[in-house]
């Protein structure tokens, strides 16, 4: 054929091999839909176990990918649309963990709601595929598609209980706020493209760094104002997904109205995915905008947002009576703590981000498992009072909940403490006065959070039993809950293995970021 222009080199098998985990997950999601049709009514929950097996295989593929590429990371694929590095490897692992845990705890919940259907599990896998595309994306376009794949799926999952008014309302609210934030994000991205003429994050970073040399602006005009505008819009879009203050309004409503199993998934998976995007865009793409002379960089903006997020989240949680709303505010506060690690900009900070996200995934889904077990036929079981006397009824469950709560609060000997130690410590280590103040705010906030985490503990251990109806717990739920609790304790006492994993991701950020700021300062 006679082409008017030169044909670019075609993608090779090597490119395809690098996205095998994503391909596998997509195939398993499609297969789950078929399996669901093949299964007779009443046996639909088998789809869940099929999906779990799928996640297991994908996890193996991920490990295989790491062992094959360990010494040549980072690897770019598909014309630099995707990048396999420590960050994307570790985060994809976190997503798979979140998806697996949520599937285990969904089975019983959907049985109680009488909504056992295969689509549910297929949708969870689709959402996870979207998150994995977000983690490997290193181009604004591929990142955005991944984000929408995840977001659209979660909108549907929030409204999954069609006959439940609260679920419908939550889905509508979340959907409208969500598409609005996507539009804002896209607007920011289009401005960024307009200024730099690039969509690849690495090239954007180079272009931005090229505007200034030795602190002097190159060429005519000052593009930095426009870049700040793009930064603010992109930041607003991403912070919405994280549910950071002041973009958190949707979270308590959506968390409360969504099916509890979906709330558990939303509070860990998509949140971690939004964090990987924030890290990619801010550190890989907009790294040179961290601090600018005479203009506000993103470090100071993120600092204000982090302080607000922690404070509003914790104070909001104190007055809640509904457990799901309380955990929604608690997860807002936790998002604020995790932001501190991105801010500090050191190896220790990034390590804290990854470490805390892994632990947060374990302890938050653990806590939601307990809440799901309180939900029985005819009993909603979402008030703090519903926990009353849990220790008398189910001592094992109560003790595990105790572990999760202590870890969320960050009590020493639990892994939550180690995560917070890295996050807060990295701020103090940075030595900048305002970061030290921020660390002080964080510590004060942790103290506030003891109050509402302790309310759970008091209700379970001290208050008298309210009703005798047995908990809805399946054997797999018990096992995953116990494993999560043991891991939370284990990593609190012996965190080295997890630190090693976290450092794999942290190193990939700090090397790229050092390069980017190296260009900027020359």
């Amino acid at each position: 054929m006679n082409l008017l222009f030169e044909l670019p080199p075609l993608p090779t098998l090597r490119d395809t091999m690098l996205i095998v985990p994503e391909l596998m997950l997509t195939l398993f999601a499609c297969a789950a839909l078929v399996v669901d049709i093949a299964l007779p009514r009443g046996k639909k929950s088998l789809t869940a176990w099929f999906c779990l097996v799928g996640i297991g295989f994908v996890a193996l593929a991920l490990v295989q990918q790491y062992t094959l590429n360990a010494d040549k990371l980072p690897v770019d694929a598909f014309y630099q649309m995707a990048r396999i590095d420590g960050l994307s490897l570790v985060f994809r692992g976190i997503f798979l963990l979140a998806a697996a845990l949520s599937i285990v705890l969904s089975v019983k919940y959907l049985d109680v709601e009488n909504e056992q259907r295969g689509e549910y599990y297929a949708l969870i896998l689709f959402a996870t595929t979207g998150m994995m595309f977000m983690a490997i994306g290193s181009d604004l376009i591929s990142i955005y598609i991944g984000l929408e794949l995840m977001a659209l799926t979660v909108y549907v999952l929030v409204g999954y209980l069609k006959r439940n008014e609260r679920s419908n309302e939550a889905a509508m609210k979340y959907f409208f706020m969500g598409i609005f934030s996507s539009a804002v994000l896209l607007y920011g991205m289009s401005i960024l493209y307009g200024v730099t003429g690039r969509t690849n994050l690495g090239q954007i970073s180079e272009a931005i760094a090229g505007y200034t040399q030795n602190g002097q602006l190159q060429g005519e005009g000052d593009p930095r104002m426009m870049l700040i505008l793009a930064l603010v819009l992109i930041g607003a879009g991403l912070l919405f997904k994280i549910a950071a203050v002041p973009f958190h309004m949707w979270a308590p409503d959506a968390y409360e109205g969504a099916p509890t199993s979906v709330t558990a998934f939303m509070s860990v998976g998509p949140k971690a995915a939004a964090y990987v995007l924030l890290a990619r865009v801010l550190l890989f793409g907009l790294g040179p905008l961290r601090d600018m002379e005479g203009l506000p960089g993103w470090s100071i903006m993120l600092g204000v947002v982090a302080a607000l997020t922690m404070t509003v989240g914790n104070i909001g949680a104190v007055t809640q009576e509904n457990i799901k709303r309380m955990l929604a505010y608690s997860s807002i506060a936790q998002a604020g703590y995790i932001m501190l690690g991105v801010l500090a900009g050191t190896q220790m900070g990034y390590r804290g981000v990854v470490f805390h996200l892994v632990i947060y995934t374990l302890m938050n889904t653990g806590a939601f498992t307990v809440i799901i077990s309180l939900h029985r036929k005819g009993i909603i079981g979402e008030k703090v009072d519903d926990l009353n006397g849990l220790f008398a009824k189910a001592p094992g469950v109560a003790v595990m909940m105790l572990v999760f709560m202590l870890s969320l609060a960050g009590i020493p000997t639990t892994a939550g403490f180690i995560g917070k130690y890295f996050l807060f410590g990295s701020l103090i280590q940075s030595g900048k006065p305002w970061m030290v103040y921020l660390a002080v705010i964080a510590v004060v906030n942790t103290a506030i959070s003891f109050y509402y985490y302790a309310r759970f503990i008091r209700a379970m251990f001290l208050n008298p039993l309210k009703e005798e109806a047995p908990l809805t717990l399946s054997q797999p739920m018990r096992v995953t809950m116990a494993v999560s609790a043991v891991l939370v304790m284990l990593f609190g006492i012996y965190p080295q293995p997890l630190i090693k994993v976290a450092d794999l991701a942290a190193k990939s950020i700090s090397t790229v970021y050092a390069q980017a700021s190296g260009i900027a300062s020359n």
Binding site: L3, L4, L7, F126, L152, V195, G197, L229
Partner: protein, 165 residues
């Protein structure tokens, strides 16, 4: 003023006028029709920017298919007057004016201060070019989009399916 500039001002006027009309119409149906004007104006702008294919797609997909759906939904919902009443929180309405003005001011200020990146080469938005790019450089997002659409179909089916009691 060159011929190109005159065309740009003409089409940009159609786009902005259409967009303003979308907001100002009381009847949602007229708003939808105004949106078509905006889309046609945008399509013309694309053509002047040598993105012929994008211009045609804009007409076929947006002005044709998507607007048709909009109009269908509006007519099916049969919106009555009381549904379009202004929100009782009127102060919010007035709050949007200064906030919008600030945003507009900031945008204008920034745009006048900045040199935008120059278009790279004279490649043109031909079908050939776009097709080649979609299946090479943008293959990954292109395929990811197909997963997205599949998921959207599954989700929409679940939400819209009639329950057997």
């Amino acid at each position: 003023m060159t011929f190109e500039q005159i065309l740009f001002i003409l089409f940009a006027g159609i786009v902005v006028g259409g967009a303003a009309s979308v907001l100002l119409q009381r009847n949602p149906l007229y708003s939808a029709f105004s949106l078509i004007t905006t889309f046609v104006g945008l399509a013309c702008l694309y053509v002047t920017l040598k993105a012929q294919f994008l211009g045609v797609v804009q007409i076929v997909v947006y002005a044709g298919a998507i607007m048709m759906l909009f109009v269908f939904v509006i007519m099916l919902l049969n919106i009555r007057d009381e549904d379009t009443a202004v929100d009782p929180n009127r102060f919010l309405v007035y709050l949007t004016i200064p906030l919008g003005a600030i945003l507009l001011g900031a945008l204008l200020y920034v745009v006048t201060k900045v040199n935008l990146a120059q278009p790279t080469g004279d490649e043109g938005g031909t079908v050939e070019r776009i097709g080649t790019n979609l299946l090479t450089k943008y293959l990954l997002p292109f395929e990811a989009t197909s997963v997205l659409i599949l998921m959207a179909v599954v989700g929409a089916l679940h939400l819209a399916k009639r329950e057997k009691e």
